[in-house]
């Protein structure tokens, strides 16, 4: 059992939920201002980090 992997899966989904909310906030054209682009970059980066943990725990 890997608690760390389970936490990372949830955290990745939560980060993607924040990204989803940003898509709602910027619908319909999703043209983002600087602050929104920065938030998008942060959510994506955080998601990547969580996916890396999942990989490390479950596959490698």
């Amino acid at each position: 059992m890997s608690r760390r992997a389970v936490d990372a899966i949830f955290q990745a989904l939560f980060n993607l939920s924040d990204l989803r909310a940003l898509m709602r906030e910027t619908a319909p054209d999703h043209a983002m201002d600087d602050e929104q682009r920065q938030r998008a970059a942060t959510y994506i980066e955080k998601t990547k980090r969580q996916i890396a943990i999942v990989e490390e725990e479950l596959i490698r």
Partner: protein
């Protein structure tokens, strides 16, 4: 894209600006989306349910505290969460209305209020609206007198829609509650279009029950809602069961009759809880929401022939509009008939107007950003110009 066999992903909110009249206040917050991911399993909130085995006593997750916080926020004494506002109406009507009792509701009342009265065996009596589509204290007093003449007794309950679903008009609940109380009639405030989007103070309004809808105005999954009441009425509407099995002699402790034991389990209550801090904050910004609503309504009114049927200037984000002399004139000759409007809006990334509607229709601007509100306002004007309607 599918999320499961034969079930499409619902990506309406991600791809469009949605101005559907009933959906605006129920869109989930990001925290509620996260809660839905974590608490989707059926009995997910029941892991730490201990004696006396009732939902509103669960401490982890903090459902008990949520009940306390909700009551305080509405300035009422007790709250229960229920599966939708309609189940709140049902609980109160079932408690207060006996077979054959007259029950007051208004000519703008939602159908679920009629059904709650019918289910309890009551006889609905409507209070007429005035020429401005308002329920006035004078009309309430007059109707109470009529009912007393007819039934030889006062109604045991009155329903009032704080904001009616037809026009989105805000009614003078405080003055109306005062009239009802002069006749000792308890008053239920249907806050489906107010609780969760605008500030509500139940004690200040002087109402006996405040009913809210989670999925309509509290950024919560469906079906969810709340029923709040004063200490005076709590004991009656939240009475506990006295049932006893005649063979087994079983009794059922503190389960509440009108709540059917536990009420709002799993993702619905957790979604409501997750959104609550945001909801508590967002009601403070009601003026901004109304200002955006006004901007869009004014854009529509700049199109010759268009009339607003709701109060003007707007005091709510739900609006009923009459375009029989503008967009409907286009529909008469357009090759897509009445569907041109929803089609043209959809091309501009806007959804929520019933396809084919060009006569009298409703929309709700709640929750739009500044940029989205501008986009919607401009889109209506552009569609009008493209179809040779005059814009001032």
């Amino acid at each position: 894209m599918k999320c499961a066999i034969d079930i499409d992903v619902r990506d309406v909110e991600e791809l469009f600006i949605n101005i559907d009249p009933i959906q605006a206040g129920g869109r989930l917050t990001p925290d509620a989306m996260k809660a839905a991911i974590a608490y989707g399993d059926g009995y997910s909130v029941c892991d730490a349910c201990q004696k006396p085995f009732r939902l509103d006593y669960i401490k982890k997750p903090p459902i008990a505290q949520f009940h306390t916080d909700l009551a305080e926020w509405l300035n009422m004494d007790q709250v229960r969460v229920v599966p939708g506002a309609r189940r709140g109406f049902q609980a109160v009507a079932s408690t207060y209305v006996e077979k054959g009792d007259p029950v007051l509701l208004t000519s703008l009342a939602h159908y679920t209020e009629f059904i709650a009265v019918e289910q309890a065996g009551g006889i609905p009596r409507e209070i007429p609206k005035d020429e401005k589509n308002h329920i006035t204290p004078d009309a309430v007093a007059a109707r109470i007198e009529d009912v007393i003449d007819e039934f030889k007794r006062a109604p045991p309950l009155m329903f009032l829609d704080h904001v009616d679903y037809q026009y989105g008009n805000v009614h003078d609940a405080k003055a109306i509650a005062k009239v009802a109380h002069q006749y000792d009639i308890p008053i239920l405030l249907n806050g489906a279009y107010s609780v969760g989007i605008m500030p509500i103070d139940g004690k200040d309004l002087g109402v006996d029950f405040v009913i809210g809808s989670g999925h309509k105005s509290m950024a919560a999954p469906a079906p969810s809602g709340l029923v709040a009441t004063t200490a005076e009425h709590a004991e009656r509407v939240f009475r506990t069961t006295r049932s006893k099995g005649d063979i087994t002699a079983r009794t059922f402790g503190i389960k509440e009759v009108e709540m059917m034991g536990c009420t709002l389990m799993g993702v619905t209550v957790i979604g409501m809880m997750a959104s609550f801090p945001h909801v508590r904050e967002r009601v403070k910004h009601w003026d901004t929401e109304v200002a955006r609503s006004r901007r869009i309504v004014d854009a529509l009114l700049s199109i010759e022939g268009t009339r607003v049927l709701s109060d003007y200037p707007r005091t709510h984000t739900l609006t009923r509009i009459d375009t029989r002399n503008s967009f409907d004139k286009v529909a008469e000759v357009h090759k897509k008939r009445g569907f041109f409007l929803s089609n043209d809006l959809k091309k501009r990334g806007i959804t929520g107007v019933i396809p084919g509607s060009t006569k009298v229709w409703k929309f709700n601007t709640y929750g739009l950003t500044e940029k989205q509100a501008d986009h919607v306002a401009n889109a209506f004007v552009e569609v009008a110009r493209e179809n040779n309607l005059s814009v001032s």
